[in-house]
């Protein structure tokens, strides 16, 4: 049994303009010790998926499917039982460390709150734990810094505090939603190192959401590529990087600058489709260089490709075997 198993997760938001189908039929699993990468462009449903797992979606969200945590469907739990998971058995860190901490409380107070919410211990003991957590994420002079306010910390330090907070109760699962996007490059590397070290020490499962394919390549074992609310490719990092079986992924890979590659940076032309009143057919068909008639009529299933553990959602998977697919986008832009 996996630590976390998400099955056919669908999330939609009723709005004034119509129902936004933010996540459709997403399934994946994460084990202790795994790092699952999720990539995809803005609005593809990465955050909504992770918020659904954490139980942080607004009440207006309609959620179906299953989120099994150690075999228990946590979507079906009462609020109170659900709260016992959040922050205790699973923690989350967010994109913007500058605004993720409450400005009016000290770092120590906020860490203690995380500890005391799930453990019946004294304030003093919680504070000691806070100091210990700060040391764990590599904050120097942690016994002194614990009394500082968030604004006295830099962005990178604040993100470390967020990691410490998520780890406060030794969860088995950590969700990191673009943990480095808002930070500059050197700090990014330090944060990723911290995450890697913590993962190695504690053996937790991590879901790492990012725009940055380099980050996924460095840290993950498996990855999901999301597009317009659904998973379009699922496989090991190597499989997906070297042999993408879906044109969108190929396009994404083409967009990473590679040393020695000739030509300019490729970009996938066009924009993501609206998630309201989704049209039938492949959601990528409006931008796909390989589009054929059937793509516009039926939506492809997420099915195994020539590599059994590598799934892709495309009618023309076979046509991508052995082709440098990113070149197609290059030709497109050149031609």
């Amino acid at each position: 049994m996996s630590l976390l198993e998400v099955k056919n997760l669908c999330v939609s938001f009723p709005t004034e303009d119509g129902v936004v189908e933010a996540v459709r039929n997403v399934s994946f699993s994460v084990d202790r010790g795994d790092v699952l990468g999720i990539v995809g462009e803005s609005g593809s449903g990465k955050s909504v998926t992770s918020m659904a797992v954490m139980g942080l979606l607004p009440r207006s969200a309609r959620i179906t499917g299953q989120v099994l945590y150690d075999g228990v469907d946590i979507l079906k739990l009462e609020q109170k039982q659900r709260g016992a998971y959040r922050g205790n058995r699973m923690g989350m860190i967010f994109q913007d460390p500058m605004t993720s901490l409450n400005p009016v409380y000290t770092i120590g107070w906020q860490l203690s709150e995380a500890v005391r919410t799930h453990n019946n211990i004294s304030k003093k003991a919680a504070k000691a734990r806070a100091v210990e957590l700060l040391a764990l994420v590599g904050i120097p002079q942690s016994s002194k810094r614990v009394d500082a306010f968030p604004h006295e910390f830099s962005g990178g330090m604040r993100q470390r505090v967020m990691i410490a907070m998520a780890m406060a109760n030794n969860p088995d699962l950590l969700i990191a939603d673009e943990p480095t996007t808002a930070l500059d490059v050197t700090v990014q590397a330090q944060i990723l190192e911290t995450l890697e070290r913590i993962q190695a020490e504690s053996g937790i499962g991590i879901i790492l959401i990012t725009h940055d394919l380099g980050v996924v390549a460095g840290m993950s074992d498996r990855m999901l590529v999301m597009y317009a609310g659904s998973v379009v490719e699922d496989g090991t990092v190597d499989e997906i990087f070297y042999e993408p079986r879906m044109p969108y992924t190929a396009g994404l890979l083409g967009a990473i600058p590679r040393a020695g590659a000739a030509g300019r940076l490729n970009q996938i032309k066009g924009t993501t489709p609206s998630l309201i009143n989704l049209k039938p057919g492949c959601k990528f068909s409006g931008r796909c260089p390989l589009v054929v008639d059937v793509c516009q009529q039926t939506e492809p299933e997420l099915v195994p490709t020539d590599q059994p553990a590598h799934l892709a959602r495309c009618h023309r998977t076979k046509d991508l075997i052995g082709v440098d697919a990113s070149a197609m986008f290059l030709q497109e832009t050149a031609g």
Binding site: A84, R86, G87, F94, S100, P103, A114, T117, M165
Partner: protein, 398 residues
């Protein structure tokens, strides 16, 4: 902190000084005092009387000397005499007491009401409660105070007093009250408030009994005349006063005197509370919506903190910061009185003091009024800054 306060207070001295010069000039340019004008327009005005009045108002002294005379007395606490040769200081002190009685009460009530209503309508955004309070706030905010006060006085209080003289209630009204009470109780206990995630046990029972309690309270007070009749047996006047800040001869006994003050306070303070609450509730609602959708509130939720604690310890605590500053500034403006409301309910507070002094073009009372209100505004500006720094650790005072 102390240093900051000292420095801020020091800067206020030249500001107040400048303000005093400007207002002194403006007051001098208002024209000759009404009293002098009256004397001069009499057909048989004696030149001696006019001259003595001109002397009294120092009209023939150069402006500069007049100013230095005035300010040298003023800073020593001598506010001078008005045209009737009464002491301006004791006059204005009386007006201040009256105004404070009205405005401090009204201000505190409107802040509390505004915070409570703003808080709940932010938590329950786009519910009936939110729409109703939003509508009410816009109504009270946009309606001119004079209209609101007049309406309350004529259609609210006067009508109510007439009814309270012979309080009767038909069976139908009684039943309606019971039902409304029960509904209110239900609404209060329904778990829509989202303060807590816990389902509330025995909601219905609790709601209905709370409602019946509210309705019974109503019946006891008004149908059986628990308060109204007993009070009126000793006192034939209407229950809720519409004129003045106290009875002409207020009862000597402490409790009765307070009650007398209270019935006089009700009308004007209700006006001010409705207007003030409208502003504060909108402000609080916006502020609260802002913090509720903030990243740190999401972080708190992700820690598993209960919804009640998320709302009060995280969202509410931060939403109070801007509100506190605004309230502190408003308290500074309090002493200028509520001119319109005071006039409609015939209170002799600062508002009335000012408008009378202005009508009579009396320099001493006008200057006293302007300087005292200016000092209060400046002081409460410092108070607002200090409070802001206390509440928000990001702000440093130096």
């Amino acid at each position: 902190m102390l240093q900051f306060i000292a420095r801020r207070l020091l800067i206020t001295i030249p500001i107040l000084f400048l303000a005093s010069i400007i207002t002194f000039l403006l007051v001098a340019k208002l024209g000759i005092p009404q009293q002098l004008e009256n004397a001069m327009s009499k057909p048989n005005a004696s030149p001696a009387a006019i001259r003595s009045l001109r002397n009294q108002f120092e009209l023939d002294t150069p402006l500069f000397t007049r100013y230095t005379n005035w300010i040298s007395h003023f800073v020593r606490g001598d506010f001078g005499l008005d045209g009737q040769r009464t002491n301006v200081r004791s006059d204005i002190w009386r007006a201040i007491q009256v105004t404070l009685r009205l405005l401090v009460f009204a201000q505190i009530m409107s802040v509390l009401l505004g915070i409570a209503v703003g808080l709940v309508s932010a938590i329950r955004q786009y519910t009936a409660f939110d729409y109703i309070t939003t509508g009410a706030a816009f109504l009270f905010f946009s309606i001119p105070t004079a209209v609101l006060a007049g309406f309350l006085k004529v259609y609210g209080i006067v009508e109510f007093n007439r009814w309270a003289r012979h309080p009767t209630m038909s069976q139908a009204v009684l039943v309606a009250l019971l039902v409304i009470g029960a509904l209110c109780g239900l609404a209060l206990t329904k778990n829509r408030l989202r303060f807590s995630d816990r389902p509330q046990p025995k909601k219905l029972l609790l709601g209905v009994s709370a409602g019946i309690g509210i309705a019974l309270g109503f019946i006891i007070v008004f149908k059986l005349g628990w308060d109204g009749n007993i009070y009126r047996k000793r006192n034939p006047k209407p229950l809720i006063a519409t004129i003045g800040q106290a009875s002409d001869r207020p009862p000597a006994e402490f409790f009765s005197r307070m009650l007398d003050y209270f019935w006089h306070l009700l009308g004007p303070s209700l006006t001010l509370i409705l207007v003030g609450f409208a502003g504060y509730s909108r402000y609080m609602r916006a502020s609260m919506l802002d913090t509720l959708s903030s990243d740190y509130v999401r972080t708190a939720r992700s820690k598993g903190v209960s919804e009640g604690k998320v709302i009060f310890k995280h969202a509410f605590r931060n939403a109070l910061i801007p509100l506190t500053t605004a309230v502190a500034l408003d308290f500074g403006a309090l002493l200028s009185g509520a001119i319109i409301t005071e006039r409609i309910f015939s209170w002799k507070g600062m508002g009335t003091f000012f408008s009378e002094a202005l009508n009579l073009r009396e320099p001493k009372p006008l200057m006293a009024f302007v300087m005292i209100t200016a000092v209060m505004v400046v002081l409460f500006n410092v108070v607002a800054d200090v409070l802001y720094a206390r509440l928000d650790p990001r702000i440093r005072l130096d």
